[in-house]
Symmetry: C2
Subunit: 223 residues, 2 copies
Protein backbone atom coordinates (compact mmCIF):
# COMPACT_ATOMS: atom_id res chain seq x y z
CA UNK A 1 0.00 0.00 0.00
CA UNK A 2 1.22 3.52 -0.72
CA UNK A 3 0.96 6.39 1.67
CA UNK A 4 -1.02 8.96 -0.26
CA UNK A 5 -0.92 11.64 2.43
CA UNK A 6 -4.69 11.06 2.64
CA UNK A 7 -5.95 8.23 4.86
CA UNK A 8 -9.57 8.68 3.72
CA UNK A 9 -8.54 8.16 0.12
CA UNK A 10 -6.68 4.97 1.01
CA UNK A 11 -9.75 3.63 2.80
CA UNK A 12 -11.99 4.54 -0.15
CA UNK A 13 -9.58 2.81 -2.52
CA UNK A 14 -9.62 -0.40 -0.48
CA UNK A 15 -13.41 -0.25 -0.05
CA UNK A 16 -13.98 0.21 -3.80
CA UNK A 17 -11.62 -2.70 -4.44
CA UNK A 18 -13.44 -4.87 -1.91
CA UNK A 19 -16.82 -4.20 -3.54
CA UNK A 20 -15.34 -5.25 -6.89
CA UNK A 21 -13.85 -8.39 -5.31
CA UNK A 22 -17.22 -9.36 -3.81
CA UNK A 23 -18.82 -8.85 -7.22
CA UNK A 24 -16.19 -11.05 -8.92
CA UNK A 25 -16.69 -13.76 -6.30
CA UNK A 26 -20.46 -13.74 -6.80
CA UNK A 27 -19.81 -14.50 -10.50
CA UNK A 28 -17.43 -17.32 -9.62
CA UNK A 29 -19.97 -18.72 -7.15
CA UNK A 30 -22.79 -18.60 -9.68
CA UNK A 31 -20.64 -20.56 -12.15
CA UNK A 32 -19.43 -23.09 -9.56
CA UNK A 33 -15.83 -21.89 -9.92
CA UNK A 34 -13.26 -21.92 -7.10
CA UNK A 35 -10.66 -19.18 -7.44
CA UNK A 36 -7.18 -19.00 -5.85
CA UNK A 37 -4.96 -15.92 -5.76
CA UNK A 38 -1.26 -16.90 -5.93
CA UNK A 39 1.14 -14.35 -4.48
CA UNK A 40 4.85 -14.13 -3.67
CA UNK A 41 8.05 -12.19 -4.20
CA UNK A 42 9.36 -12.14 -7.77
CA UNK A 43 11.09 -15.42 -8.58
CA UNK A 44 9.64 -17.55 -5.76
CA UNK A 45 8.29 -19.96 -8.37
CA UNK A 46 4.61 -19.13 -8.95
CA UNK A 47 4.72 -19.89 -12.68
CA UNK A 48 6.79 -23.06 -12.22
CA UNK A 49 4.25 -24.26 -9.63
CA UNK A 50 1.38 -23.51 -12.03
CA UNK A 51 3.15 -25.48 -14.77
CA UNK A 52 3.29 -28.56 -12.52
CA UNK A 53 -0.28 -27.97 -11.36
CA UNK A 54 -1.69 -27.73 -14.89
CA UNK A 55 0.32 -30.78 -15.96
CA UNK A 56 -1.08 -32.84 -13.06
CA UNK A 57 -4.66 -31.59 -12.79
CA UNK A 58 -5.64 -30.61 -16.33
CA UNK A 59 -7.44 -33.94 -16.89
CA UNK A 60 -9.21 -33.85 -13.55
CA UNK A 61 -10.52 -30.25 -13.53
CA UNK A 62 -11.43 -27.63 -16.11
CA UNK A 63 -8.94 -24.85 -15.33
CA UNK A 64 -8.35 -21.28 -16.50
CA UNK A 65 -5.50 -18.96 -15.52
CA UNK A 66 -5.58 -15.19 -15.06
CA UNK A 67 -1.97 -14.10 -15.37
CA UNK A 68 -0.91 -10.73 -13.94
CA UNK A 69 2.36 -9.11 -14.95
CA UNK A 70 3.44 -5.49 -15.13
CA UNK A 71 4.62 -6.02 -18.70
CA UNK A 72 5.19 -8.92 -21.14
CA UNK A 73 3.25 -12.15 -21.69
CA UNK A 74 6.28 -14.33 -20.87
CA UNK A 75 4.53 -16.23 -18.07
CA UNK A 76 1.24 -16.46 -19.97
CA UNK A 77 3.10 -18.02 -22.90
CA UNK A 78 4.74 -20.60 -20.60
CA UNK A 79 1.31 -21.64 -19.30
CA UNK A 80 -0.51 -21.67 -22.65
CA UNK A 81 1.58 -24.74 -23.58
CA UNK A 82 -0.64 -26.74 -21.22
CA UNK A 83 -3.71 -26.16 -23.35
CA UNK A 84 -5.72 -24.10 -20.85
CA UNK A 85 -7.14 -20.60 -21.38
CA UNK A 86 -4.61 -18.09 -20.03
CA UNK A 87 -5.90 -14.53 -19.79
CA UNK A 88 -2.95 -12.13 -19.58
CA UNK A 89 -3.39 -8.84 -17.72
CA UNK A 90 -0.60 -6.27 -17.93
CA UNK A 91 -0.82 -4.02 -14.89
CA UNK A 92 1.52 -1.36 -16.32
CA UNK A 93 2.98 0.53 -13.38
CA UNK A 94 0.68 -1.11 -10.84
CA UNK A 95 2.45 -3.43 -8.39
CA UNK A 96 -0.52 -5.76 -7.90
CA UNK A 97 -3.73 -6.98 -9.49
CA UNK A 98 -6.88 -5.30 -8.24
CA UNK A 99 -10.48 -6.47 -8.49
CA UNK A 100 -11.23 -4.21 -11.46
CA UNK A 101 -8.40 -5.71 -13.51
CA UNK A 102 -9.55 -9.24 -12.65
CA UNK A 103 -13.14 -8.26 -13.57
CA UNK A 104 -11.74 -7.45 -17.01
CA UNK A 105 -10.18 -10.92 -17.11
CA UNK A 106 -13.47 -12.53 -16.10
CA UNK A 107 -15.23 -10.60 -18.85
CA UNK A 108 -12.80 -12.02 -21.42
CA UNK A 109 -13.42 -15.54 -20.05
CA UNK A 110 -17.17 -14.95 -20.53
CA UNK A 111 -16.72 -13.72 -24.08
CA UNK A 112 -14.59 -16.65 -25.26
CA UNK A 113 -15.84 -19.59 -23.17
CA UNK A 114 -18.76 -20.80 -21.12
CA UNK A 115 -17.58 -19.94 -17.60
CA UNK A 116 -19.97 -22.48 -16.06
CA UNK A 117 -17.82 -25.23 -17.63
CA UNK A 118 -14.86 -24.32 -15.39
CA UNK A 119 -13.98 -25.69 -11.95
CA UNK A 120 -10.92 -23.67 -11.05
CA UNK A 121 -9.51 -20.22 -11.87
CA UNK A 122 -5.89 -19.71 -10.84
CA UNK A 123 -4.87 -16.04 -10.57
CA UNK A 124 -1.13 -15.44 -10.67
CA UNK A 125 -0.48 -12.03 -9.14
CA UNK A 126 2.41 -9.62 -9.81
CA UNK A 127 5.54 -10.68 -7.92
CA UNK A 128 5.38 -8.60 -4.75
CA UNK A 129 5.30 -9.73 -1.12
CA UNK A 130 3.53 -6.56 0.05
CA UNK A 131 0.60 -5.02 -1.83
CA UNK A 132 -1.17 -7.98 -3.48
CA UNK A 133 -2.14 -9.19 0.02
CA UNK A 134 -4.20 -6.03 0.56
CA UNK A 135 -6.15 -6.11 -2.70
CA UNK A 136 -8.62 -8.98 -2.82
CA UNK A 137 -9.67 -9.88 -6.36
CA UNK A 138 -12.60 -12.23 -5.66
CA UNK A 139 -10.62 -15.33 -4.71
CA UNK A 140 -11.90 -18.04 -2.35
CA UNK A 141 -8.43 -18.63 -0.95
CA UNK A 142 -5.08 -16.88 -0.92
CA UNK A 143 -1.99 -18.95 -1.66
CA UNK A 144 1.36 -17.43 -0.72
CA UNK A 145 4.73 -18.79 -1.80
CA UNK A 146 8.03 -18.22 0.00
CA UNK A 147 11.25 -19.61 -1.40
CA UNK A 148 13.81 -21.17 0.98
CA UNK A 149 16.33 -18.70 -0.45
CA UNK A 150 14.41 -15.70 0.94
CA UNK A 151 15.19 -16.33 4.61
CA UNK A 152 13.21 -17.32 7.69
CA UNK A 153 12.68 -13.72 8.86
CA UNK A 154 10.22 -12.84 6.06
CA UNK A 155 6.93 -13.65 7.89
CA UNK A 156 7.91 -11.13 10.59
CA UNK A 157 9.05 -8.48 8.12
CA UNK A 158 6.12 -8.78 5.67
CA UNK A 159 3.32 -9.79 8.06
CA UNK A 160 0.26 -8.84 5.98
CA UNK A 161 0.96 -11.47 3.31
CA UNK A 162 1.46 -14.17 5.93
CA UNK A 163 -1.61 -13.11 7.94
CA UNK A 164 -3.81 -13.25 4.86
CA UNK A 165 -2.57 -16.57 3.40
CA UNK A 166 -4.79 -19.66 3.62
CA UNK A 167 -2.06 -21.89 2.22
CA UNK A 168 1.68 -21.18 2.37
CA UNK A 169 3.97 -23.07 0.02
CA UNK A 170 7.64 -23.08 1.00
CA UNK A 171 9.20 -23.45 -2.43
CA UNK A 172 12.57 -24.58 -3.83
CA UNK A 173 13.21 -27.01 -0.97
CA UNK A 174 15.79 -28.64 -3.28
CA UNK A 175 17.98 -25.58 -2.59
CA UNK A 176 17.72 -25.98 1.20
CA UNK A 177 21.09 -27.80 1.54
CA UNK A 178 22.86 -24.80 -0.04
CA UNK A 179 21.28 -22.00 2.00
CA UNK A 180 21.20 -21.46 5.75
CA UNK A 181 17.42 -21.81 6.08
CA UNK A 182 16.38 -22.83 9.59
CA UNK A 183 13.04 -24.59 8.95
CA UNK A 184 12.04 -24.72 12.62
CA UNK A 185 12.59 -21.00 13.00
CA UNK A 186 10.68 -20.31 9.78
CA UNK A 187 7.73 -22.39 11.02
CA UNK A 188 7.81 -20.60 14.38
CA UNK A 189 7.81 -17.22 12.62
CA UNK A 190 4.92 -18.25 10.37
CA UNK A 191 2.88 -19.61 13.30
CA UNK A 192 3.51 -16.40 15.25
CA UNK A 193 1.83 -14.41 12.45
CA UNK A 194 -0.77 -16.98 11.36
CA UNK A 195 -1.40 -20.04 13.58
CA UNK A 196 -3.88 -21.63 11.16
CA UNK A 197 -2.27 -21.42 7.73
CA UNK A 198 -1.62 -24.72 5.93
CA UNK A 199 2.14 -25.01 5.33
CA UNK A 200 3.36 -27.15 2.43
CA UNK A 201 7.09 -27.41 1.59
CA UNK A 202 7.46 -28.13 -2.14
CA UNK A 203 10.04 -28.48 -4.87
CA UNK A 204 9.03 -28.49 -8.53
CA UNK A 205 12.46 -30.00 -9.29
CA UNK A 206 12.24 -33.07 -7.06
CA UNK A 207 8.44 -33.19 -6.87
CA UNK A 208 8.54 -33.01 -3.06
CA UNK A 209 5.23 -31.89 -1.57
CA UNK A 210 3.36 -31.50 -4.86
CA UNK A 211 0.91 -34.28 -3.94
CA UNK A 212 0.05 -32.43 -0.74
CA UNK A 213 -0.54 -29.25 -2.74
CA UNK A 214 -2.84 -31.12 -5.14
CA UNK A 215 -4.68 -32.63 -2.14
CA UNK A 216 -5.14 -29.15 -0.66
CA UNK A 217 -6.63 -27.99 -3.99
CA UNK A 218 -8.97 -31.02 -4.13
CA UNK A 219 -10.10 -30.32 -0.58
CA UNK A 220 -10.89 -26.67 -1.45
CA UNK A 221 -12.93 -27.74 -4.48
CA UNK A 222 -14.99 -30.17 -2.38
CA UNK A 223 -16.00 -27.40 0.02
Amino acid sequence: MHQTFDAALEINLLHANQRGADHNRSHFDAWGITCFNLMSSPGAGKTALLEKTLEALNDRYKIAVIEGDMTTELDAERLRRYGVPVIAINTGRSCHLDSKMVAGGIHRLEQEYNPADFDLVLVENVGNLVCPAEFEVGEHAKVALLSVTEGEDKPLKYPIMFQEADCLLITKTDLAPYVDMDFDRLRDNIRQINPDVTIVPVSVKTGEGLDLWFQWIAHQLEK
Copy 2:
Protein backbone atom coordinates in the same frame (compact mmCIF):
# COMPACT_ATOMS: atom_id res chain seq x y z
CA MET B 1 2.71 2.29 -7.86
CA HIS B 2 -0.97 1.79 -7.10
CA GLN B 3 -3.75 2.69 -9.44
CA THR B 4 -5.82 5.16 -7.45
CA PHE B 5 -8.50 5.65 -10.12
CA ASP B 6 -7.14 9.21 -10.31
CA ALA B 7 -4.13 9.86 -12.54
CA ALA B 8 -3.78 13.49 -11.37
CA LEU B 9 -3.46 12.31 -7.79
CA GLU B 10 -0.75 9.84 -8.73
CA ILE B 11 1.19 12.57 -10.52
CA ASN B 12 0.81 14.91 -7.53
CA LEU B 13 2.02 12.16 -5.22
CA LEU B 14 5.14 11.55 -7.30
CA HIS B 15 5.78 15.29 -7.69
CA ALA B 16 5.50 15.89 -3.95
CA ASN B 17 7.85 12.96 -3.38
CA GLN B 18 10.33 14.33 -5.92
CA ARG B 19 10.40 17.75 -4.24
CA GLY B 20 11.15 16.01 -0.94
CA ALA B 21 13.88 13.94 -2.57
CA ASP B 22 15.54 17.04 -4.04
CA HIS B 23 15.42 18.65 -0.60
CA ASN B 24 17.02 15.60 1.03
CA ARG B 25 19.75 15.55 -1.62
CA SER B 26 20.53 19.23 -1.07
CA HIS B 27 21.17 18.39 2.60
CA PHE B 28 23.43 15.48 1.65
CA ASP B 29 25.31 17.70 -0.80
CA ALA B 30 25.81 20.45 1.77
CA TRP B 31 27.31 17.91 4.18
CA GLY B 32 29.49 16.20 1.55
CA ILE B 33 27.56 12.95 1.88
CA THR B 34 27.02 10.47 -0.96
CA CYS B 35 23.79 8.50 -0.62
CA PHE B 36 22.86 5.17 -2.24
CA ASN B 37 19.38 3.66 -2.32
CA LEU B 38 19.55 -0.17 -2.20
CA MET B 39 16.53 -1.96 -3.63
CA SER B 40 15.52 -5.53 -4.48
CA SER B 41 12.95 -8.27 -3.96
CA PRO B 42 12.66 -9.58 -0.40
CA GLY B 43 15.49 -11.98 0.34
CA ALA B 44 17.85 -10.97 -2.48
CA GLY B 45 20.51 -10.19 0.11
CA LYS B 46 20.51 -6.43 0.74
CA THR B 47 21.26 -6.75 4.45
CA ALA B 48 23.92 -9.44 3.93
CA LEU B 49 25.60 -7.19 1.36
CA LEU B 50 25.49 -4.25 3.78
CA GLU B 51 27.08 -6.42 6.49
CA LYS B 52 30.04 -7.21 4.20
CA THR B 53 30.20 -3.58 3.08
CA LEU B 54 30.31 -2.19 6.62
CA GLU B 55 32.87 -4.81 7.63
CA ALA B 56 35.15 -3.86 4.74
CA LEU B 57 34.69 -0.08 4.51
CA ASN B 58 33.97 1.04 8.06
CA ASP B 59 37.60 2.08 8.60
CA ARG B 60 37.86 3.88 5.28
CA TYR B 61 34.64 5.92 5.32
CA LYS B 62 32.30 7.34 7.94
CA ILE B 63 29.05 5.50 7.18
CA ALA B 64 25.45 5.69 8.40
CA VAL B 65 22.58 3.41 7.42
CA ILE B 66 18.90 4.29 7.01
CA GLU B 67 17.06 0.99 7.30
CA GLY B 68 13.53 0.69 5.91
CA ASP B 69 11.27 -2.20 6.91
CA MET B 70 7.49 -2.46 7.13
CA THR B 71 7.81 -3.78 10.68
CA THR B 72 10.55 -4.99 13.07
CA GLU B 73 14.11 -3.79 13.59
CA LEU B 74 15.58 -7.20 12.71
CA ASP B 75 17.78 -5.87 9.91
CA ALA B 76 18.72 -2.72 11.83
CA GLU B 77 19.91 -4.90 14.72
CA ARG B 78 22.03 -7.02 12.37
CA LEU B 79 23.77 -3.89 11.10
CA ARG B 80 24.24 -2.14 14.45
CA ARG B 81 26.80 -4.85 15.32
CA TYR B 82 29.19 -3.08 12.95
CA GLY B 83 29.29 0.01 15.14
CA VAL B 84 27.69 2.43 12.68
CA PRO B 85 24.58 4.57 13.27
CA VAL B 86 21.58 2.66 11.94
CA ILE B 87 18.37 4.68 11.76
CA ALA B 88 15.39 2.31 11.55
CA ILE B 89 12.25 3.46 9.74
CA ASN B 90 9.15 1.28 9.95
CA THR B 91 6.98 2.01 6.95
CA GLY B 92 3.89 0.27 8.38
CA ARG B 93 1.68 -0.74 5.45
CA SER B 94 3.75 1.21 2.94
CA CYS B 95 5.62 -0.97 0.43
CA HIS B 96 8.52 1.43 -0.07
CA LEU B 97 10.42 4.29 1.54
CA ASP B 98 9.43 7.75 0.34
CA SER B 99 11.34 11.01 0.60
CA LYS B 100 9.32 12.16 3.62
CA MET B 101 10.22 9.07 5.62
CA VAL B 102 13.89 9.45 4.71
CA ALA B 103 13.71 13.15 5.68
CA GLY B 104 12.67 11.93 9.13
CA GLY B 105 15.73 9.66 9.16
CA ILE B 106 18.00 12.54 8.15
CA HIS B 107 16.50 14.64 10.95
CA ARG B 108 17.40 11.94 13.49
CA LEU B 109 20.94 11.80 12.09
CA GLU B 110 21.19 15.58 12.58
CA GLN B 111 19.92 15.36 16.16
CA GLU B 112 22.35 12.66 17.28
CA TYR B 113 25.46 13.27 15.15
CA ASN B 114 27.24 15.89 13.13
CA PRO B 115 26.13 14.95 9.62
CA ALA B 116 29.09 16.78 8.06
CA ASP B 117 31.34 14.07 9.57
CA PHE B 118 29.80 11.41 7.31
CA ASP B 119 30.90 10.30 3.83
CA LEU B 120 28.27 7.75 2.94
CA VAL B 121 24.62 7.10 3.79
CA LEU B 122 23.33 3.69 2.72
CA VAL B 123 19.54 3.49 2.49
CA GLU B 124 18.15 -0.06 2.56
CA ASN B 125 14.66 0.04 1.08
CA VAL B 126 11.70 -2.26 1.75
CA GLY B 127 12.04 -5.53 -0.19
CA ASN B 128 10.01 -4.89 -3.33
CA LEU B 129 11.10 -5.00 -6.97
CA VAL B 130 8.37 -2.58 -8.08
CA CYS B 131 7.49 0.57 -6.16
CA PRO B 132 10.78 1.66 -4.52
CA ALA B 133 12.13 2.40 -8.02
CA GLU B 134 9.48 5.09 -8.50
CA PHE B 135 10.01 6.93 -5.22
CA GLU B 136 13.33 8.75 -5.13
CA VAL B 137 14.48 9.51 -1.58
CA GLY B 138 17.38 11.90 -2.26
CA GLU B 139 19.97 9.33 -3.30
CA HIS B 140 22.87 10.03 -5.66
CA ALA B 141 22.71 6.52 -7.12
CA LYS B 142 20.27 3.62 -7.16
CA VAL B 143 21.67 0.16 -6.48
CA ALA B 144 19.45 -2.78 -7.43
CA LEU B 145 20.08 -6.38 -6.40
CA LEU B 146 18.78 -9.45 -8.24
CA SER B 147 19.47 -12.92 -6.88
CA VAL B 148 20.42 -15.71 -9.31
CA THR B 149 17.49 -17.67 -7.87
CA GLU B 150 14.95 -15.14 -9.20
CA GLY B 151 15.37 -16.00 -12.89
CA GLU B 152 16.72 -14.23 -15.95
CA ASP B 153 13.30 -12.93 -17.07
CA LYS B 154 13.00 -10.38 -14.25
CA PRO B 155 14.47 -7.31 -16.05
CA LEU B 156 11.77 -7.69 -18.72
CA LYS B 157 8.97 -8.27 -16.22
CA TYR B 158 9.91 -5.52 -13.75
CA PRO B 159 11.47 -2.97 -16.12
CA ILE B 160 11.21 0.20 -14.01
CA MET B 161 13.67 -1.08 -11.37
CA PHE B 162 16.18 -2.10 -14.03
CA GLN B 163 15.75 1.14 -16.01
CA GLU B 164 16.40 3.21 -12.91
CA ALA B 165 19.40 1.30 -11.50
CA ASP B 166 22.89 2.81 -11.74
CA CYS B 167 24.50 -0.35 -10.39
CA LEU B 168 23.01 -3.85 -10.56
CA LEU B 169 24.40 -6.53 -8.27
CA ILE B 170 23.61 -10.10 -9.30
CA THR B 171 23.68 -11.75 -5.89
CA LYS B 172 24.06 -15.31 -4.54
CA THR B 173 26.29 -16.41 -7.43
CA ASP B 174 27.34 -19.31 -5.17
CA LEU B 175 23.89 -20.80 -5.85
CA ALA B 176 24.30 -20.56 -9.64
CA PRO B 177 25.34 -24.24 -10.04
CA TYR B 178 22.05 -25.34 -8.43
CA VAL B 179 19.64 -23.17 -10.42
CA ASP B 180 19.08 -22.94 -14.16
CA MET B 181 20.23 -19.33 -14.45
CA ASP B 182 21.40 -18.48 -17.95
CA PHE B 183 23.85 -15.59 -17.31
CA ASP B 184 24.15 -14.59 -20.96
CA ARG B 185 20.38 -14.34 -21.30
CA LEU B 186 20.17 -12.37 -18.05
CA ARG B 187 22.80 -9.91 -19.30
CA ASP B 188 20.99 -9.57 -22.64
CA ASN B 189 17.71 -8.88 -20.84
CA ILE B 190 19.36 -6.28 -18.55
CA ARG B 191 21.08 -4.55 -21.50
CA GLN B 192 17.80 -4.45 -23.40
CA ILE B 193 16.26 -2.43 -20.55
CA ASN B 194 19.34 -0.46 -19.47
CA PRO B 195 22.41 -0.47 -21.72
CA ASP B 196 24.52 1.60 -19.32
CA VAL B 197 24.02 0.01 -15.89
CA THR B 198 27.12 -1.33 -14.15
CA ILE B 199 26.61 -5.09 -13.59
CA VAL B 200 28.50 -6.76 -10.73
CA PRO B 201 27.95 -10.47 -9.94
CA VAL B 202 28.61 -11.04 -6.23
CA SER B 203 28.43 -13.68 -3.52
CA VAL B 204 28.70 -12.74 0.15
CA LYS B 205 29.45 -16.42 0.86
CA THR B 206 32.47 -16.84 -1.43
CA GLY B 207 33.38 -13.14 -1.58
CA GLU B 208 33.16 -13.14 -5.39
CA GLY B 209 32.76 -9.67 -6.82
CA LEU B 210 32.81 -7.79 -3.51
CA ASP B 211 36.04 -5.97 -4.44
CA LEU B 212 34.39 -4.72 -7.62
CA TRP B 213 31.42 -3.48 -5.55
CA PHE B 214 33.76 -1.65 -3.17
CA GLN B 215 35.60 -0.13 -6.15
CA TRP B 216 32.29 1.07 -7.57
CA ILE B 217 31.51 2.74 -4.21
CA ALA B 218 34.97 4.37 -4.11
CA HIS B 219 34.48 5.66 -7.63
CA GLN B 220 31.11 7.21 -6.71
CA LEU B 221 32.60 8.93 -3.66
CA GLU B 222 35.38 10.44 -5.77
CA LYS B 223 32.86 12.08 -8.11
